[in-house]
Amino acid sequence: MKKVLKYVLYDILKNRFVIGYTLLLLLLSFAFFGFEVNPGKGVISLLNINLIVVPLVSIIFAATNFYNSYEFLELLSAQPLSRGTIFFSQYLGVCLSLSLAFLIGIGLPVLFFEGTMVGFRLVLTGLLLTLAYVSMAFWASVLTSDKAKGIGIALVIWFYFTIVYDGLVLTLFLSLSDYPMEKATIIFSLLNPTDLARILVLIKLDVSALMGITGAVFQDFFGSAKGVWISLTALCIWFIVPVFMAFKKFSNKDL
């Protein structure tokens, strides 16, 4: 696998899109930290990049790249390689290159300007989000052979987790305000990787606000070491399960 991965990486790292993405993130990082007197505000702006731009780029790039590499995947499958090797070389290649872009574009500036726990969590959750959305992109891509359809599904996934899901939760909370919903907040948070990443950073950043109003259950959970570990595990599940489903589908797929 290492052999193939090496060449997949050679290819993707020279991809103009990945280079552009790295530069864009770098530019944004320096702009946010440079213009804001208060680094806390820079972190908030970067958090939005983390939650909106990073998932979008990850899922679209991964899906597009999958379809563009389709013939190459065919070619590889005629070689003495297992489907697993082919699939995971491609998957890891995309994950590693996007993670590297993220680490250079956001990780380094954060380390430089905001080397705190908040900064660390920002980078960690951003990385996990990258992996999660790449996984979902792969899943979407193996489900359909139609490139336009696959990228469409990827976009819908992003749109759902970024906007629709929160809108649904909001509506649900407001219409069920007569019911006890303390535990529901935790469940709802765990069911959306973007929300999970956001809360893991906010629980450090806006701790005073979150401590106050969400209720004891929420703050006890996300404020405790156990809760943080559960959340991180959940985020990992968010990239492991889709990639596993994608791999299962890919193994039995006609190329």
């Binding site: 019911y179 006890p180 535990k183 004891a216």
Partner: protein, 132 residues
């Protein structure tokens, strides 16, 4: 989710939970009280007077709730308000000065922080509501 919606009483976390009405932290077990709505929402109070005032403002009564509970005086054991006997005296010094203590039956005088000469009449829930 279904389980979460079945009304159930919840223990009060002293020094942590706020009173729904006066927003103060609930500290003293002997005076705290709790409302559980039929939909399962729990409201906690640091003083019986807070709960009664809250119920009056919200215009609700016992019938609207799954549980209306009060701590027995000097303990953190809940008692249904309709099963309780109440005593009202300034000597109780309850957190919001409702100064009402709840008991399972009429308590022995010597267990109370009352001035020896003080004589107080036991009250029931209907009578206690009128106090606040």
């Amino acid at each position: 989710m279904v389980a979460a919606c079945t009304p159930a009483q919840k223990p009060i976390e002293y020094a942590k939970d706020p009173c729904q009405f006066c927003k103060m932290t609930i500290m003293e077990p002997g005076f705290a009280s709790e409302l559980v709505t039929k939909k399962g929402k729990v409201f906690k109070f640091d003083d019986l007077s807070c709960m009664i005032k809250y119920m009056k403002i919200e215009q609700t009564s016992i019938e609207d709730h799954a549980y209306v509970l009060v701590n027995m005086y000097g303990s953190n054991e809940f008692l249904n308000v309709q099963d309780a006997v109440f005593l009202h005296s300034e000597s109780f010094k309850s957190p919001m000065r409702g100064d009402v203590a709840a008991f399972k039956g009429i308590p022995h005088h010597s267990h109370l922080p009352l001035e020896t000469t003080e004589e107080i009449k036991p009250l029931n829930w209907a009578e206690i509501i009128k106090l606040f």
